[in-house]
């Protein structure tokens, strides 16, 4: 089914939270092909397993508006004239990314990075307006994807003169090997990460369990390695760096949430935080502490958050069922005043009182 034999196995895992107790009324990657794809509903999170897996290479991005273009990997379901046709996409408001095993923003992902994603069909999407998988719930680089699947690549052969290595997918313990091995290109531009330092291709050794990020997966065979992490320490360092970028971004941009309810009479707002942030940040919103809320659009852009956010005490923090896009954390707060954008199904960026709400660069602001 897929160009990468591994993926056919892991797609099910990727959608592991799907409720298989009853046949869904929509088509899934492993379900009835005659049913229509799931259609997103405004203000609602989609059910688990309702998305469609697409992998490909990021060839363009607009990090401010959370949109981009993917060159999908070729697969057997495609006609040849569909090969490599660019797929414009937009991250759903509750859509999230992972890079180097940590939460990320589109701005963190280099052009050319090979990504794995969960997509939703938009009836009006695509260049011809006839519909396409343009709405993205989740995007991950190979590093994150493999990490989430608890898989590594075992180096079987090294042919630096040919610029190739042969690898086989294995578990973290080095067993449960894939049935088939893969050949990837390595070049003098391939970054090799060893411990807390940068290494070289000569540090590769047969039998090593590594993680890789890839590019040019479609055009040049199985793909070219941009980065290879040789050991656990190097992988932890990469994740740590990305976590720091994530924390910094969140503190400056807030956490996105959807408004569930507004009590206009008493000026109380209830909102559910979107998924995609590090769970440690949940501790930044204790009851009775203050929270700031800046109105955002579906792109998660705010107008002028430093000028228009409203603050107020957190009245209640409660857990709600976790579904794709939903963090499972709901906050009830009382801002100093209600804003027009504080309406059910609308989006806000929430700021812990421990963060300083800063002015964003002009290109990120919607306020003229």
């Amino acid at each position: 089914m897929y160009r990468y034999p591994l993926l056919s196995a892991v797609v099910v895992l990727f959608c592991s939270t799907a409720d298989h107790s009853a046949e869904p009324a929509y088509r899934t990657d492993s379900g009835n092909e005659h049913l229509p794809w799931f259609q997103l509903r405004s203000g609602e999170f989609p059910p688990a397993g309702s998305g469609h897996y697409i992998a490909g290479e990021l060839i363009a991005l607009d990090h401010v508006n959370r949109t981009g273009v993917l060159r999908p990997d070729r697969n057997h379901s495609q006609r040849t004239d569909e090969y490599d046709r660019p797929l414009p996409f937009a991250l759903l408001p509750y859509g999230s990314l992972s890079f180097h095993g940590a939460p990320a923003e589109l701005r963190d992902i280099p052009i050319g990075t090979h990504l794995h994603g969960q997509f939703y069909f938009d009836k009006k999407g695509g260049n011809d307006g006839k519909g396409a998988f343009t709405k993205v719930l989740r995007l991950e680089d190979d590093f994150s994807f493999s990490t989430n699947q608890q898989r590594l690549w075992r180096i079987d052969t090294i042919a630096l003169d040919k610029g190739e290595i042969t690898v086989t997918g294995v578990s973290l313990e080095g067993n449960q090997a894939d049935a088939a091995s893969k050949v990837y290109q390595v070049t003098s531009a391939t970054r090799v990460w060893k411990g807390r330092a940068i290494g070289s291709l000569t540090d590769l050794a047969i039998g090593q369990s590594v993680l890789m990020n890839l590019t040019l997966c479609t055009l040049k065979g199985p793909g070219r390695c941009t980065d290879i992490w040789l050991d656990l320490e190097s992988r932890q360092l990469a994740a740590h760096q990305q976590f720091q970028a994530h924390f910094l971004y969140v503190r400056e941009h807030g956490l996105a949430a959807v408004i569930d309810e507004v009590d206009n009479q008493h000026g109380i707002v209830t909102a559910t935080l979107f998924a995609g942030f590090d769970f440690h940040l949940k501790n930044e919103f204790p009851v009775n502490d203050f929270v700031g809320a800046a109105v955002a659009e579906e792109s998660l852009r705010t107008y002028d958050q430093a000028g228009d956010f409203m603050q107020g005490p957190i009245l209640e923090v409660r857990s709600v069922p976790v579904v794709p896009g939903n963090s499972g954390m709901q906050i009830k707060f009382k801002p100093e005043r209600l804003l027009e954008g504080y309406r059910p199904k609308r989006i806000v960026r929430l700021f812990s009182s421990r963060w300083r709400v800063v002015e964003l660069p002009r290109e990120e602001r919607l306020y003229e």
Binding site: D304, E336, R337, L338, E340, R343, E368
Partner: protein
Amino acid sequence: MLDGDMRTYIPFSVFTALFALGPVSSSAVEAANVAAEFDQAVLPFLNAHCSRCHGEKKQEGELRLDTLSRDFASGGAAEHWSEVIRRISSAEMPPEDEPQPKAEEAAEIVEWLAARLKEGESARLAQRERVTFQKLTREEYANTIYDLLGVHCDATDTAGLPEDPNWHGFERIGSVLSLSPAHVEKYLALAETALDEALPTKAPEKVVIHWRAADMTEYVTGAGDQKPRLQELGLLDKARLVVWPGSCFLGQPGTTQKLDLPVTGDYRVRIRLSGLKPPGGRAPHVVIYAADLDRMLFEQDVVAPEGQPVTLEFHAHLPAGHHALRMSNEAPGPSNSPRAGRNGSRPFYSIKDGREPWQTKLTDDAGQPILPFLIVDWMQWEGPITDSWPTPAQQQYSIPENDVLPKAGEVLTRFIERAFRRPATIMDVERFERLVDSEIRSGEKPMAALKTAMLAILCSKDFFYIVEGSTEKNAGSINDWELASRLSYFLWSTMPDAPLLDAARSNTLHQPETLRAHAARMLRDPKIHRFTNAFPRQWLQLRRVGMFPPDKKLYPDYDDYLQTSMVTETTEYFRYVLEANLSLREFLDSDWTMLNARLAVHYQIPGVTDDRFLRVALRPEDHRGGLLTQASVLSLTSDGRRHRPVHRGKWVLESIIDRPPPPPPGNVKPIEPTPVNQPKATVRMKLAAHQSDPNCAACHRKIDPIGLAFDNYDAIGRWRTVEIANDGSGENPRVDASGELVDGRKFSDAAELKKLLVADLDKFNAAFVEKLATYALRRTMTIDDRTNLARLAEQSKAADYQLTAIIEALVLSDLFQRR
């Protein structure tokens, strides 16, 4: 009895001795009374405590009291006695090393001297020369110009006349109203403007200035100049202007819209708008204010659905030139200082279409308003509006191009008689005729020459002064012309109308039946609203309402419209009592009041939705009724942060009972805040500690219980049972409004105090009659007036204290017709 009456101490022998001397004037009798009282009440105190250092042998500080004049009407002696009061009441005198008087003893002396000083002051202010000149107030000046020329005069604008000084609230006391160089300059400018408008050289060209919402502010069409784009899309006329609370049409509070008017005149202003009122909340309140004139042009609550806007109309008299208008929604709402209170960059078409998401939320998801807001479509200024052409003044005061002087003489005679409110003398006419002649000789056209003479007349003292008396004889009473003016300025605050002048001309006005008929006619005339508006304001000192604006943090609901509504309740209440010919009792207690929706919200009285003031029946649980529990009266004594029981008590003694307490000593310590570690305390509790000083207690015993009776009302007149204390710790204390009058009668709250006051109605009757006479006669009442005032009070009582009867009795009294 609310306080002691010193006259009861005068020995009978003094009276018999005085009357044995034969007929003497009442002032002579009073002077003898005062001397006797002084010897009995004050002299022993002075001998015991003062004379050793301020007597025959020794005059410390160059002050000798045994020879100090006891003529309290004399300014020099009054100053010295005033200083004596200050020193004794502040316990500076006698010095610590001298024998000390009892506090009650010192208080009695202070009170007696203060009462005599007040009488002396009144006598000085009421002193009459052969001819008295009493300047028109600026309100009277404007009314007189209108009735004389048929044009409005903006005398109360910032460019108009200076504010009139007042004496205990009364703004028309002749001896207080002085003439400054600024007045002369303004009289000239105002008269010139009025004459130009009344006698224009050509018919004024009418203008119509129409502002669409998009013309009022750039924010209607969004940031930048989007007008061409919206015009192209056919949307420009559909854009509407949202005005949320506190916001001005131009976006930021305090900004203004420029209006250019080519000529001075009356303008008809129309505005089409919707007013969205939250369920159970306040209505939006449109305010149109001319900042350059410091004049409120229009204000009104507006309730009209989004899809069914209403067109409001009003008239305003405006001078030619540029005006800075501020138009806003003065309903209370959140602050507009953060971003959320600003205009956005997208045009507003409908609630459904929505607004900027970062703006303050105005509606819920069903489109129901959360805050009161206006949606304005357009505004139009049209004018000048003229009732007729030629103007009424042109019809009365025109002269031909030829053979000017004979006709000018006729016109001037008529004009002078009306302007001076007396017959024009030959000298008057000749003086102004010469002016016309001189102008024509220097090349002016006849009408321009006549206008110059009319200008000179309007700048004459006989116009802006009410002149009474004659240099030739010391008349004891006024003539019919003076009576016409006195009556007209009393009830209408303007010049006499034609019937009054006719009666004066025929010398019949002073006849009781004629005078009664004119008074009755005037009470029925719409112009009586000037009296029902001005008299209660001055008597009750309502100009003090809002003098210390309430703290916005402590009283966020207080706004200008509430303040206006508070005062209007009182004036409308007075109007109703007069129109319905009710008793003075209604001023002390009643089961009704006059409310609009704004004030009803303030009083938490349900069911009042009209923006107009209407009679509303009160229930006991409303805790209102009469003047004393109206928000205007309750708030005029506050300092902006808290109620002031002592000031409330003093106000009641002064305005209702006419027994003002002596002035406080100069060294009164302020009330200290309650320490954080001590329980919260009411102002009453703090005052009790404050009054432990026996020097204070003697006076405060009379003042405080009356003021504390209104402790159930906060600084802006809201009912409460618990007093919010900002300092100290623990629960806010409950209000205790109980008290005891000096005569021993007890009450538990304001309602019971009001009943005690009603039981003492004759005291209020006497006080009211004196206040009314002060207003009518434009002077303070003196000892000489006591007999007449007492007679009037008796007449009032005989008529069951009906207000109309009291006014009629005053007009027909000797007092009213006496100089």
